[in-house]
Symmetry: C2
Subunit: 329 residues, 2 copies
């Protein structure tokens, strides 16, 4: 009887010790909140990646999501900071995104560097100056010369140096004044070669879109230069990273005829039949070619003449890390 009790006690001791150990371990442990955050459309907290940096490969192995590389050309203007902040806040809602922001400038600016450092995004900050003969002049209409060509090519160059064809990813050329629904990024993530979808408010139409029959693109709803090989706006397609890396010659041609910029890249990569229609067979609009009005600054110029213009420290608010370079402005 005494022996029996001891045996029961021993078995109970072992079982309950395991239970206690588990309870003690639970006390100090953090929750895995990735599921809840994903259901809200949030990625994990992004590790910051200031300046030039290697792609976030380690992270992808864990996440198993192809990375969206967003190549965004940008240039200095009074509303640049507003535009980039607005866009960065949308991108915060997209998991596994790497923002490659390329300034049209001789040097990377503190304004953009600081904005990126505070964005909470995974990013790479690049710059390349558009050669003066290719640049729009004050008063030139927007359409006269293509903008952002050198910057998009710089993004491609960076990807080719820093990524390998084995990396799963997709590349999207996202201007800084368009409007993006977070749904768009879900559509493009699993691109095999080149995926396409409608773009709102572009080409003089309420939308342009590929026409789809039995899952294949058979034409385009567009009203301008319909003879282009790919009558698609820059915002209307994404390219698989590995396809881009397998075709090192594929880039945007700065000397191409007006309207043919997108085609100058795509003809290296894909045929119309191979395009992958997204957004419910190209029937949903998740990106709009919005443009922000150039702000009117007449009063500013008048105040400047009186020596009472805006304070650059207020215009370009920099966090403490960047205060020492504010004089660059």
């Amino acid at each position: 009887m005494r022996l029996k009790l001891r045996n029961i006690f021993l078995v109970y001791f072992v079982v309950s010790s395991v239970g206690l150990l588990y309870a003690v371990l639970q006390l100090g442990q953090q929750c895995d909140c990735s599921h809840q955050m994903k259901s809200l459309g949030m990625g994990r907290p992004k590790e910051q990646n200031p300046g030039h940096a290697k792609g976030p490969r380690e992270k992808h192995v864990v996440d198993q999501l192809p990375v969206i590389y967003l190549v965004t050309p940008t240039y200095a203007r009074p509303h640049q900071r507003a535009e980039l902040i607005r866009m960065s806040q949308t991108l915060l809602l997209v998991p596994d995104l790497h923002w490659i922001l390329v300034e049209d400038s001789a040097e990377r600016s503190p304004l953009v560097a600081d904005l990126l450092a505070q964005s909470g995004l995974h990013y790479t900050h690049l710059n390349v100056l558009t050669p003066p003969p290719m640049k729009l002049k004050e008063g030139d209409p927007n359409w006269l010369k293509p903008r952002g060509v050198e910057q998009r090519n710089e993004g491609l160059r960076w990807l080719r140096v820093n990524q390998s064809p084995m990396d799963r990813g997709v590349v999207y050329f996202a201007d800084d004044d368009n409007t993006y629904s977070v749904n768009l990024f879900k559509e493009m993530r699993y691109t095999q070669k080149v995926s396409v979808w409608p773009v709102g408010l572009v080409g003089g139409l309420k939308y342009e879109r590929p026409l789809v029959d039995k899952g294949h693109v058979v034409g385009f709803h567009t009203a301008w230069k319909t003879h282009r090989p790919f009558p698609i706006d820059m915002a209307g397609f994404a390219v698989s990273l590995s396809l881009l890396l397998m075709h090192p010659e594929a880039r945007f041609d700065p000397n191409t005829e007006r309207g043919f910029l997108e085609s100058s890249l795509l003809t290296h990569l894909v045929s119309m039949e191979e395009l992958e229609p997204r957004a419910d067979n190209c029937t949903k609009i998740w990106v709009w070619h919005t443009r922000t009005e150039k702000p009117k600054l007449k009063q500013e110029e008048a105040l400047e003449k009186l020596g009472r213009g805006s304070d650059p420290n207020i215009l370009v608010y920099l966090s403490h890390d960047y205060q020492h370079i504010v004089k660059a402005f």
Copy 2:
């Protein structure tokens, strides 16, 4: 000796049983991820609140955060959907926010109703038509008549009916084309009476802002109608909910002189000395008075004449719940 062993066993039994019970309870329990999500600037998942509804009072008791009531006038135009989606995605990053979206229309539109239902935000959808004599006509310059006056007053009316002066909250009048940094909402949340801050790209200046001395507003950096009682843009102030409810006569005067709309509300509520400067004594810009260009739709009109205009089902994508009312368009 036998008795002692039994006592030890009994004590151990009680202690380990509690441990086991805790371990078993932990197994089925969900994590509390609110802390992680807050550190990312995310609120808890918002419960949806379609149509007219009571304020989210129960929730606040738990959160202990004053609610930000955002009153946004909106009107139908080709880029309305883009603007509202872009804005709603910024608001998703703000905890404890209640969006009161007021359409300038005779009826609430399925486009806006569906967009709100899919937004993930806590919201109220209202409408009121601006009387035709007060309305801007096609081709009128933007500044000729104030826009959104009736809609902002409708938002105030709703707050007065549905909230009590005991509710902690702050009211901000947020147009649907401005650019908002999420930092702005942190600045306004603990408003006692009326808080103020700079606004970028407004009044012909790079920014307008209150001038602050020893923590008090002593003047304004502005260049247009400087004799206004409150030379502040609509985006540059927020009002405590209880102050608004204590002054039922406070509203926007649709017949006031151009530029005096903000003053027509504020003079009921506060004196200049009482204004609460935010954003580091009004030295940081977290909101910009951006405007989106009216899209050019020449090709659309040409196609419409040929009977090949845009498909309304694509323009106004409605989720399944709203498909049955798509014919309203």
